[in-house]
């Protein structure tokens, strides 16, 4: 029997999941446990499709700042995805390709291993970052040309933004840079502005996300657009009126057009300069006090850390993935700003995906469809049973292995890692050590709760 291969792009906002050979397009599932006050119900992951009342939703997100911290919620969402309600896979007979954040912490990575092999008992799995998959996809491909050797992936998602240079399929970790701006921050920023200026929307994350996605754009001339909005705050070419949803009847608001039917009871949210000052933060994080350079400058900085003779190739192969690149005007603005930063002799080219949200999934799908996927990339459950998480540390080439594989031998690295409190071989350790550990944990539990 041929084994199923599950592809899971585990994003901070949504999970893109599917099975190789049956889901060319992923199922998009909220990565959250959402409680609806109106429905008096809690929806876990895919169940959110059943939600009827979108007012004041309470979100419990497994991912904080891009990293999985709440495994209870994460497992609940994954359970739903593997169950007969979504993918219906026997995990013990399947392989898994799952994405993790850039610079994932080693102690978090171990939990991935534990959950996937000890709880779901996958036959084998491969864990990597979203950007490292992109060269397997079609984002950079031009008809008739071989795929470029050097690419720069810009991943602007929900939790943060990364610029990731990749050479011959290998991420160059020393030049990967992170911008602490993502869709979550932008939504919250917009929420705050609107609540201060017009309606109190602080509890309406769901509605504000929809408003952000439908109204916001990236200005190509910030100064001029601000002047337009300032000159006539009531009528100008930028202003939009968003009709807030009447939550007793419909779920979605809409942008008011000339011919829209608007009742007197409808509440209208006016989007004036909010619609471009909010996504502007991607290009000017210092506008809200983040002491980081904007996206364009960060890309230039990352490229400057790369070998001189290859820099031109990176400049001419920049690719955009992630939901926050969907703001209209994103590519144009980035191109303009990069043009003032690029050395004279190089050309810039920016590739856009048809859908930047699912691009990583589609690339992962391509990789997982390769005949050598299981043998070349995956760690099997037997290997894990034998050597625990060090099996995946050896096989998955991430930021820590990139350095250590060349410079240090594995022996010098292990003792350093052993210091981590949670590290534990996955073969049952001597009974005494395990007991004492759990006891000490129970003892400190109250203290740690208080600290939280």
């Amino acid at each position: 029997m041929k084994r199923n291969i599950v592809v899971l792009d585990n994003g901070g906002s949504t999970i893109k999941a599917g099975l190789v050979n049956s889901d060319r397009e992923p199922r998009i599932i909220p990565n959250a446990v959402i409680r609806s006050k109106g429905d008096k119900a809690t929806y876990i992951g895919h169940e959110f499709a059943l939600c009827k009342d979108y007012a004041s939703l309470h979100y419990r997100l497994p991912i904080e700042k891009g990293y999985v911290v709440d495994w209870d919620a994460e497992k609940a969402v994954w359970d739903g995805i593997f169950s007969d309600q979504v993918l219906n896979v026997d995990t013990t007979e399947s392989s898994l390709l799952i994405t993790e954040p850039y610079f994932n912490l080693p102690n978090i990575q171990d939990v991935y291993d534990q959950l996937i092999f000890e709880e779901y008992e996958y036959h084998s799995y491969f864990r990597c970052t979203a950007a490292s998959l992109v060269p397997s996809g079609t984002l950079f491909s031009h008809p008739g040309l071989p795929p470029p050797e050097c690419v720069m992936v810009v991943d602007c998602g929900f939790s943060f933004t990364h610029v990731v240079p990749i050479m011959n399929g290998e991420v160059i970790w020393s030049a990967v840079k992170r911008l602490d701006v993502g869709g979550k921050l932008l939504t919250n920023h917009l929420k705050e502005l609107v609540s201060f200026r017009q309606w109190n929307m602080m509890d309406e994350t769901y509605i504000m996300t929809h408003i952000k996605e439908s109204c916001c754009f990236i200005s190509s001339d910030y100064k001029q657009d601000l002047e337009i909005c300032h000159a006539n705050p009531k009528h100008n070419s930028i202003i939009r009126q968003y009709v807030l949803p009447d939550l007793t009847k419909s779920n979605h608001g809409f942008i008011r057009q000339a011919d829209s039917i608007v009742k007197e009871s409808d509440q209208i949210l006016v989007m004036n300069n909010e619609s471009f000052t909010v996504p502007e933060v991607i290009f000017r994080p210092d506008d809200i006090g983040i002491q980081q350079a904007g996206l364009a400058e960060t890309i230039a900085h990352s490229i400057s850390l790369l070998p001189d003779d290859l820099q031109g190739m990176f400049w001419s192969n920049i690719g955009l993935i992630g939901g926050s690149t969907k703001f209209p005007g994103f590519r144009r603005r980035l191109l303009t700003e990069l043009q003032s930063l690029v050395p004279m002799e190089w050309d810039i080219s920016i590739c856009e995906a048809d859908d930047p949200v699912t691009e990583a999934y589609k690339s992962a799908y391509q990789l997982a469809s390769r005949p050598d996927f299981a043998t070349r990339y995956c760690v099997t459950r037997e290997e894990y049973a034998e050597s625990g998480s060090s099996a995946s540390r050896r096989k998955f080439r991430d930021w820590s292995s990139a350095e250590s594989a060349e410079k240090k031998n594995p022996q010098t690295k292990e003792p350093l890692k052993q210091k981590g409190k949670l590290r534990e071989d996955d073969r049952p350790p001597p009974a005494s050590s395990k007991l004492s550990r759990s006891r000490s944990r129970a003892g400190t539990a109250s203290a740690s709760t208080r600290r939280r």
Binding site: H58, R60, L61, E64, K65, Y67, V69, W71, D72, A73, K75, A76, D79, S83, D84, Q85, N88, D90, T91, E93, L105, I108, Q114, L115, E118, E119, E121, W173, K177, R178, K184, N188, K191, L193, F196, R197, T205, C229, H230, N273, P285, D286, D287, I288, G289, Q291, Q292, A293, E297, T298, H301, E403, L416, K417, G420, K421, E424, A442, S448, T449
Partner: protein, 175 residues
């Protein structure tokens, strides 16, 4: 100058320097940025720093005996894995599910701070600081601000926005 007048001036100067302390402003900015990372809004008064929003469920005090979400939930996963059969999970998995740590704690525990400085990690990967000067934007209306509040150093653009600022933002935001 009469002594009283001098005293007044001194007090005024002290007030000015105390409030415009860049450290306080940096602290305020950081707190604001932390707020922007929250999944749910909670009133500032009930906010304890670093506390997670959704602790009310699951009774944190019961230790290992408390339930995970999956314990009380019925989904059908094919196969014979512990997840599918609701068999007892291994100790590792139980620990991960029951003891949630926030990102700061995990970062602390990961020991990546002890790695050599030339090794790229989460801590070294942040984008560099901007090379251009910050723009002053009105914190009330978003237009270019030309003035700074004397008490809290927030920018505003005209008299109208200044009065809004004084009424609403000024006291609230200052530490």
């Amino acid at each position: 100058m009469p002594p009283k007048r001098r005293e007044q001036l001194a007090r005024k100067a002290a007030v000015g320097s105390q409030v415009l302390d860049p450290e306080i402003i940096a602290k305020r900015t950081k707190r604001h940025l932390d707020e922007l990372e929250r999944s749910n809004y909670s009133e500032p008064t009930t906010l304890v720093s670093g506390q997670d929003e959704d602790d009310e469920e699951g009774g944190y005090s019961k230790g290992r005996a408390r339930q995970t979400i999956s314990d009380k939930r019925k989904v059908t996963i094919p196969g014979k894995s512990p997840a599918a059969r609701s068999r007892k999970s291994t100790m590792n998995v139980r620990t991960a599910l029951l003891y949630r740590k926030n990102f700061a704690a995990l970062l602390d525990e990961s020991n990546i701070a002890t790695l050599p400085a030339d090794e790229p990690t989460y801590l070294t990967a942040g984008a560099p600081p901007p090379t251009y000067p910050a723009r002053l934007l009105c914190t009330v209306c978003g237009y270019f601000g030309s003035y700074k509040c004397r008490r809290c150093a927030m920018a505003y653009c005209n008299l109208n926005c200044e009065s809004v600022h004084n009424e609403t933002r000024c006291e609230r935001r200052v530490l």
